[in-house]
């Protein structure tokens, strides 16, 4: 078996014209050698082959989008099941041995394509559940794929059904090319609700999931045309604060001034915890374990094509706490944050009803960065609040560690090369502001390098109305994954 990348690079390195990528040099400079002819043919064919995949990609994306796999909606259990079965069939049709693995929550679809046990194995992970929708806010039917030119509208198109299909098509392709690689597929159906049972699944299946590396495509570039590889994720600790001071609404004329007001007290506590104007967290020790970011990392972030103005426009922000590109990126990628997500209690209808509510609950979270520990942070917050307000009830809802992956080593190099090959430009290494629990879980239990090669763009509207994906990112993604697979097939296992 010939590994084209090795030969190609060996043959042409050093002959390149400045500013022209080696892969193009290969074609320009030498078309005679057997390996190089193969290389050239494969390169030539790949773009054509990918363009020929388009009808199949669109058909299968439409099939996936048509199943409303909304994991947060208990009424969608049957749709989740339909989605699981369809996904298993899709894998089986690509030659995978598939299993639908039950968990205490939604099943996981697991596929194996083991051609030669001595070859390395790559595990690719996607999730096929989606965010809820409010159809009245959408310009198209969110569960009927609508194609406008190169763009695909529908819930799940970019998060994460489209990228999942792009990987699967790349797998089919390299399989046909006899690239010496085995594949394991993990398709989750609970990512959008916090992957509560994913760790149980990974632990239970650990023996069958031995792998050399993991590929995840569920991240977003900062700008179109500026590929980004995510190597860091923020962690999370989310919690509820509940204060009960009475048993029923009381008219403020009867008791105003004397009755405790749980909404007012929660507002006070929130304000003690953080300065909402600047975002600064006031809890002593909160920032203690934050790992400083290097200048090299920061330079990578700012090279990502990020624009704070575009960022504000994409998210619909009227104003932001800060507005300089580098500062915004650094804040999201490397700094912890504190958020109020909702306050429950009291009157929320039209006008004002003069009642003092008996109880109120604040829904809060903190995003964490390496090396903050969610349990330690939860306890810091809890102690800080409890010291001041002993009758507050505090309940942890969810937690997730921050994550830092590799920016160097053979997988990072393969990812860099594959991205350059597919999109014509070297990727930047960035971090994500969000948390992907499954990445943490796989990192912890599978103990192999994980590459986050996402295809999303800011304009795709992750989690938003009118979510969309596009063929340029899909086609580029297939090309990226084909190249990445061919590259990592050559990586020697550590002794």
């Amino acid at each position: 078996m010939v590994h084209l990348g090795q030969k190609r690079r060996g043959a042409v390195q050093g002959e390149c014209y400045p500013g022209i990528e080696p892969i193009h040099c290969a074609v320009l400079s030498n078309t005679k050698g057997l390996y190089l002819i193969m290389t050239t043919n494969q390169l030539d064919n790949l773009d054509v082959d990918i363009s020929q995949m388009r009808p199949e990609f669109e058909t299968q994306l439409a099939n996936l989008v048509a199943i409303p796999t909304i994991s947060s909606d208990p009424r969608r259990t049957a749709d989740i099941q339909r989605g699981v079965e369809f996904a298993a069939e899709l894998l089986a049709n690509s030659g995978f041995t598939t299993r639908i693995v039950s968990t205490a929550g939604n099943p996981v679809v697991c596929g194996k394509l083991i051609i030669n046990p001595s070859w390395p194995t790559v595990t690719f992970y996607n999730h096929l559940d989606v965010q809820p929708v409010d159809p009245s806010e959408w310009q198209t039917d969110p569960f009927n794929l609508t194609i406008k030119g190169d763009r695909y509208f529908g819930r799940g198109t970019v998060d994460d059904k489209g990228p999942a299909l792009a990987i699967l098509m790349a797998v089919q392709y390299v399989r046909e090319q006899n690239v010496p690689l085995n594949f394991t597929c993990i398709w989750e159906f609970e990512e959008e609700v916090g992957s509560a049972h994913f760790e149980d699944f990974i632990k239970a299946e650990q023996a069958t999931l031995a792998t050399d590396s993991v590929l995840v495509a569920d991240t977003v570039w900062q700008a179109a045309g500026r590929p980004a590889i995510s190597y860091g994720l923020r962690g999370l600790v989310s919690f509820e604060l509940t204060l009960q001071t009475g048993t029923s609404d009381v008219h403020s004329g009867l008791a105003g001034g004397v009755a405790r007001n749980p909404l007012g007290e929660l507002a006070h506590i929130i304000t003690e915890c953080y300065d909402a104007t600047t975002g600064h967290v006031n809890i002593p020790g909160f920032y203690d374990d934050v790992q400083p970011v290097t200048t090299a990392e920061l330079n990578g972030f700012t090279a990502s094509g990020f624009s704070a103005t575009d960022f504000a426009a994409v998210h619909g922000f009227i104003s932001m706490r800060i507005s300089k590109d580098a500062e915004v990126l650094s804040r999201i990628m490397t700094e912890p944050s504190f958020e109020v997500h909702g306050l429950v209690g009291g009157y929320t209808g039209p006008g004002v009803k003069n009642i003092i509510p008996p109880t109120a609950t604040a829904k809060l979270s903190a995003r964490l960065v390496p090396n903050q520990d969610p349990v330690r942070i939860f306890n810091l917050i809890k102690n800080f609040i409890k010291e001041r307000h002993p009758d507050i009830q505090m309940r942890m809802v969810d937690m997730c560690n921050p994550y830092l992956g590799e920016t160097q080593g053979p997988y990072a190099t393969a990812a860099t090369d594959a991205t350059k090959y597919a999109f014509g430009i070297a990727p930047v290494f960035v971090r994500e502001g969000g948390s992907i629990g499954s990445v943490l879980t796989m990192s912890k239990h599978l103990k192999v390098p994980i590459m986050l090669l996402g295809l999303g763009l800011p304009e795709h509207g992750y989690h938003s109305v009118n979510e969309n994906f596009d063929w340029l990112q899909a086609a580029g993604g297939i090309k990226l994954f084909v190249k990445y697979f061919t590259e990592i097939a050559k990586i020697q296992r550590p002794e």
Copy 2:
């Protein structure tokens, strides 16, 4: 026409045994004189006569309760109309000339019983609309009067249908006794939604509403057996604060730290405005115009039978900001307060959804005391907030001046005497923590003394589930009003 009170008091004053009321002395000491025989007969008969009114009282209370006149519920428009028509019929059956006066909101039922234009006129005011109900929380059907012993359960029994009936029965009685008094009735159907059109009604009808005094029965004693006459009401300014920083929910992983959080900022603003733990308002100038309360007033309050422990129990408070009886009363009756009624915006479902909401609204109000001006207070609050947070939108929802009525003069004396006569104990003069907009409106436009002779008890559950009234308060109330009418019939008009 003989005014029994005058003669009785003249004849027997000075002959009383210590601790025994003059009215009883009269019966004990002298039964021969014509006036005194009449007096004694009337006194003897009144209790019997009132006891004979009970079946009619219960029948009509059941009829009134059966009509769900919930003014806050637009689906109850037909019920309001039924209530209006039934009320007009009730007045007509008592000899009143009735009119249903349209307003831009619900109609007002207006009745006149003018026997002799040279006699003084008393105007009695009640409201026949009621608070909404959640039937699942009630132990009985809220719109089917349930009689348990002396107690009447049903929405509106104490607030304000029962007291309205007690006045009407007293009017019928004194009319039969030829007490020289004319009557005007004002029955409102929008009190529970802020009496938005009541001032328009009073202004439009001002010429037909000329009167010598007003009687309102819509207040609550501090304890059973301790009659209280309310002479003060707190004012109110209610408002909404809205902060919009974006256009849609954004995932906190994508923007947390950089995006403004309108809920967090509103919490911050609320905490700047007041200390929710103590209740102290931090806005400069807020307390400037608060009229100091006299020791005599405070002594009256503490003689009301108020118990902070009972107060907490009745309202279901687990704890309060303060707990000493006198301090609690003073706080409610004479001090302004600041309340958060609700915060709208963000995620309020189960668990925590990690979104940053684009907008949030806080529903707030301040209770005011003499001589705070709602408009001045609103502007103080607005300037305080706007200086710190220029992009906040602030909207006034409702306002009502504080009110201080008479504790001396002929009407206060008549009310005191009548209360003593009916309930065997002199009343205390107290203030209410709430606001009754209609009282302010009548005070402003009718320009006559207003007596607030309420019959509610803490255990009656104003505005609460299982609202109730009882025959002892109703019968005592009829007796009180009979006596009050006979007393005020003798008051000379000022030249």
